[in-house]
């Protein structure tokens, strides 16, 4: 497993711009992220969470500064267009995570199968391995796709809004599975809107076109940081939180 102090991602003054755009979508990113951490990227829509993911997967090169990713990355996109009408079981889908490591002439063997079953049991679906993907509930399908990501065994795991639109039971299972990955020594980076989820992370990175704050939740989630992070975004905050008042009454512009 990864050493706790082993830094897997290094960014210094990195900024990212989409082709044709006049200003960068995300700037001033300086981060050192080690293994064995659960990092939440917190920010509004358009704040740069997905842009940073694209940088981490290598899809988007930094326009300025440097971003170094020292280990393989696997990625669970938010809007999966996985097809529920496909003739595949939960196990089949999970096994797709092992395609990259196998040469084409190698069928999935016993090792791959037991790893896939292990990944399914981490998301609480050990008993549904042979169920058709299309017959599972939405939350269960998300968990299968998480298992597909887990089985890739990458030291860095990126997840875009893994809890969005998921039933509470599945959300709990997913949350626990992410912690399990963290405990295995992996660097787990989760993009989220959910401040409650952020409070339970090892580290929070607040993004709003730039890194507003980064650090342990206790330090980073101050009212002023949240105000700056969510300047233009009012509706997505959970109700009943003390941060709500801060954000609802102050506009940045």
């Amino acid at each position: 497993m990864q050493d706790r102090l082993n830094v897997l991602v290094t960014a210094s003054d990195a900024s990212f711009a989409y082709p044709g755009a006049t200003s960068p979508a995300l700037r001033d990113v300086s981060l050192d992220l080690p293994g064995s951490e659960l990092v939440i990227l917190l920010g509004p829509n358009g704040g740069g969470k997905t842009t940073l993911f694209r940088g981490l997967t290598g899809e988007l090169a930094p326009a300025a500064g440097t971003l170094k990713v020292h280990a393989p990355v696997s990625y669970l996109p938010q809007h999966d267009r996985s097809r529920t009408d496909f003739p595949v079981s939960a196990l089949d889908v999970t096994l797709m995570g092992t395609l990259a490591e196998r040469p084409p002439w190698r069928r999935p063997g016993r090792t791959e199968r037991s790893r896939a079953r292990e990944a399914l049991s981490r998301v609480g679906l050990a008993d549904r391995a042979d169920t058709s993907f299309g017959e599972l509930s939405g939350g269960q399908r998300r968990r299968v796709l998480l298992a597909r990501t887990i089985v890739q065994d990458s030291p860095i795991v990126l997840l875009d809004e893994p809890l969005a639109g998921v039933d509470p039971a599945s959300a709990e299972v997913i949350d626990a599975a992410l912690r399990g990955l963290r405990d295995d020594g992996r660097l787990v980076i989760v993009a989220s809107h959910d401040i409650e989820q952020a409070r339970r992370a090892d580290r929070v990175v607040c993004l709003n076109g730039r890194v507003v704050a980064a650090g342990p939740p206790g330090d980073a989630l101050s009212p002023s940081v949240l105000q700056e992070t969510y300047a233009a975004e009012l509706t997505l905050l959970p109700a009943g939180d003390d941060a709500v008042g801060v954000i609802e009454h102050h506009h940045h512009h």
Binding site: S74, P77, R81, R83, G97, L99, P104, L145
Partner: protein, 635 residues
């Protein structure tokens, strides 16, 4: 058991049993020439294996449209190859590869799946068809004759498969199976979740998939015809997908269903003398319908009680598949008993078996041979000679024939593969050799210069009928010297009748003024008639190449027609003649449906001999241009 019975009927086990429902043969052995049967069977099996193996990926990746579009996509290269005299099969493969490469370039790098490439495929198809049509028009000037549509260029039949096509299909199968085995898991993973391709860190291998599907489609099309290619590449996998919920099962079932459809379709084709491609497609479609019914019955039963859904599903799937295999088997077995009505020894046995390609050729042979020959006509009256698919009985008749007469030129250029399928022993007699020929574009000169570019409708000139009659007399005499005197007498009588009719018709035409003897022709069918009776064809609406007329062509034709004061527009009965109708309406002259390529069907009205057709055509024209004052009916 069905498979066994079909194979035995195909003569693989040297069966001596009679084909049920097959009435035209004395002995099945004549039909079941090892060459013919083995090739047809091999073609079906290869096509089924390729189609079944690749079909699952095609269906799950939403590529049926692409699969079907490959034929159209290969059109430009095939037109070019035809003009340059290169192999059409190689050109089809090259064109298919280019088509696939273009689609791959257009869809590459997008996270969209190939299914979202349908609009791009459509764009490419339209471009390819347009490019092919323009190319055909440009190259038509070079005088080389080639077929008019991509469909007819790719048209093939399992009954007339050539050795090189089988070799190409075998090579495709050899390429297909390992690649499908290696890569189908990746292709399906991409199709399952196209947006996560990057996340799964796998290559799409679409650069392999699209060319592979293109090559497979291009090698199955000429082998079996467009109908059967779709039937074997898409329908079995779609059927299997309804029945099973695991890809391995679907693939296995798709191959099995494709083989069953191919063999049973071939069996039906042989047993009931149906076109092979259509029979196979019908069986595949029938199996699909049965499976759909089975699945809907199951889901209804599920709704009523669903205690153990998955087990239920599997049982139903297995049961319905078993039923699908057994039902045809039962009907096959049932069919083979009690249908032993093959030709028994009747008067036919004393006659000389002769095969003619067209109704006109068959008529001349009957005029000379009388009841001493038994004539089989391959093209039915009114059939489009450009899209002919031989039936088993046609191949059998060719194998059986002592003499094969072809009309010659573009009308029956499909004959040679069918003769090859029949064993290839006897070369056809080309009747056009005995006729005085016009060039296909009559405006260019008086007589045909060379090669294939002559106008193939020589039989609408009585002088040609007389000359060709003599040629038929000589050939029949060679084949059956004992009846020499009868053939000579019949030929002499035919010559007399054609001459008498010609004189009468010429006299009738003379009653029309030179101004009245001006017509507009849809195609070039009536050039011989016009030349013989001194009609002027003021304009021809369709280009000689068979392509579509351009707007400029039409404007020129209408202007010329108007200036000439033509009294009628003539077209062949049964052709759509949309352009001819539009021009006739515009000029306010009658549109005449005459008999060109083909004589009238046996049971209805209309001319049944070439001489009658000439008279019928001239009579209609004379009546139209003289407002009914002049009729040319003799007798």
């Amino acid at each position: 058991m069905f498979v066994v019975s079909a194979i035995s009927h195909l003569g693989i086990s040297g069966a001596t049993s009679r084909l049920p429902g097959f009435a035209t043969l004395e002995s099945p052995a004549e039909l079941l020439d090892p060459l013919f049967a083995r090739r047809a069977l091999l073609a079906v099996l290869l096509a089924a294996v390729i189609g079944g193996a690749l079909g699952t990926t095609i269906v799950l990746r939403d590529l049926p449209f692409f699969t079907h579009a490959v034929g159209a996509g290969a059109y430009p290269t095939m037109v070019a190859a035809a003009a340059l005299g290169m192999s059409l099969a190689i050109a089809a493969q090259l064109g298919a590869l280019v088509f696939a490469a273009l689609l791959w370039l257009l869809t590459r790098g997008s996270t969209a799946d190939a299914r979202q490439g349908d609009s791009r495929t459509g764009l490419l198809v339209a471009t390819a068809l347009a490019a092919g049509a323009v190319l055909a028009e440009v190259l038509a000037g070079s005088g080389s004759g080639f077929a008019r549509s991509p469909e007819s260029m790719l048209f093939g039949s399992v009954l007339t498969v050539g050795k090189s096509e089988l070799v190409a299909a075998a090579a495709t199968a050899a390429l297909c199976l390992p690649l499908v085995t290696l890569l189908s898991g990746r292709w399906l993973a991409v199709g399952f979740d196209p947006e996560a391709v990057g996340a799964m860190r796998i290559s799409r291998y679409d650069g392999v998939l699209l060319p592979l599907v293109a090559i497979a489609s291009a090698s199955i099309l000429p082998l079996t015809g467009a109908l059967m290619a779709g039937a074997l590449m898409v329908i079995p996998a779609a059927t299997a997908r309804m029945l099973f919920d695991r890809t391995a099962m679907i693939t296995a079932a798709a191959v099995a269903l494709a083989v069953v459809s191919g063999l049973f379709g071939l069996y039906l084709s042989l047993a009931f003398d149906l076109p092979a491609g259509a029979s196979i497609a019908a069986v595949a479609g029938g199996l699909f319908a049965l499976a759909a019914i089975a699945v809907s019955v199951r889901s209804r039963a599920d709704r009523i009680s669903r205690p153990n859904r998955r087990d239920n599903h599997r049982t139903m799937a297995t049961a319905s598949l078993a039923a699908l295999v057994v039902l045809p088997a039962l009907s096959g077995c049932g069919g083979s008993s009690g249908q032993t009505t093959a030709a028994t020894g009747d008067a036919n046995n004393d006659r000389v078996p002769v095969t003619a390609t067209t109704t006109h050729a068959a008529d001349i042979v009957r005029q000379i041979g009388g009841n001493h020959v038994a004539t089989t006509t391959m093209l039915k009256p009114g059939a489009d000679p450009h899209e002919f698919e031989p039936k088993p009985s046609d191949v059998a008749a060719l194998a059986d024939a002592r003499v094969i007469f072809r009309s010659g030129g573009a009308i029956d250029s499909w004959l040679q593969p069918a003769i090859d399928a029949a064993g290839g022993g006897r070369g056809p007699i080309d009747l056009s050799d005995a006729a005085v020929l016009l060039p296909s574009d009559a405006a260019a000169g008086d007589s045909a210069s060379n090669g294939e570019s002559f106008n193939a409708h020589w039989f609408l000139d009585p002088v040609n009928l007389e000359a060709v009659g003599k040629r038929v007399r000589d050939e029949l005499t060679k084949a059956d010297p004992a009846t020499r005197e009868t053939y000579r007498a019949n030929a002499a009588r035919y010559a007399q009748r054609t001459r008498a009719a010609d004189t009468a018709l010429a006299r009738c035409a003379k009653r029309l003024s030179a101004k009245q003897r001006v017509i507009i022709s849809d195609h070039n069918e009536f050039d011989y008639l016009a030349a013989r009776y001194e009609f002027k064809v003021a304009a021809r609406l369709q280009p000689a190449s068979g392509g579509e007329p351009s707007v400029a062509d039409l404007q020129r034709a209408v202007a010329a027609a108007r200036a000439s004061g033509a009294g009628a527009v003539v077209t062949s009965a049964g052709e759509s003649g949309k352009v001819a109708r539009a021009v006739a309406n515009r000029l306010r002259v009658p549109l005449l449906e005459l008999y060109g390529d083909s004589l009238a069907p046996g049971d209805g009205g209309g001319p049944h001999t070439s001489l009658d057709a000439i008279e019928f055509n001239l009579d209609r024209i004379a009546a139209a241009v003289s407002s009914g004052a002049v009729r040319c009916k003799t007798g």
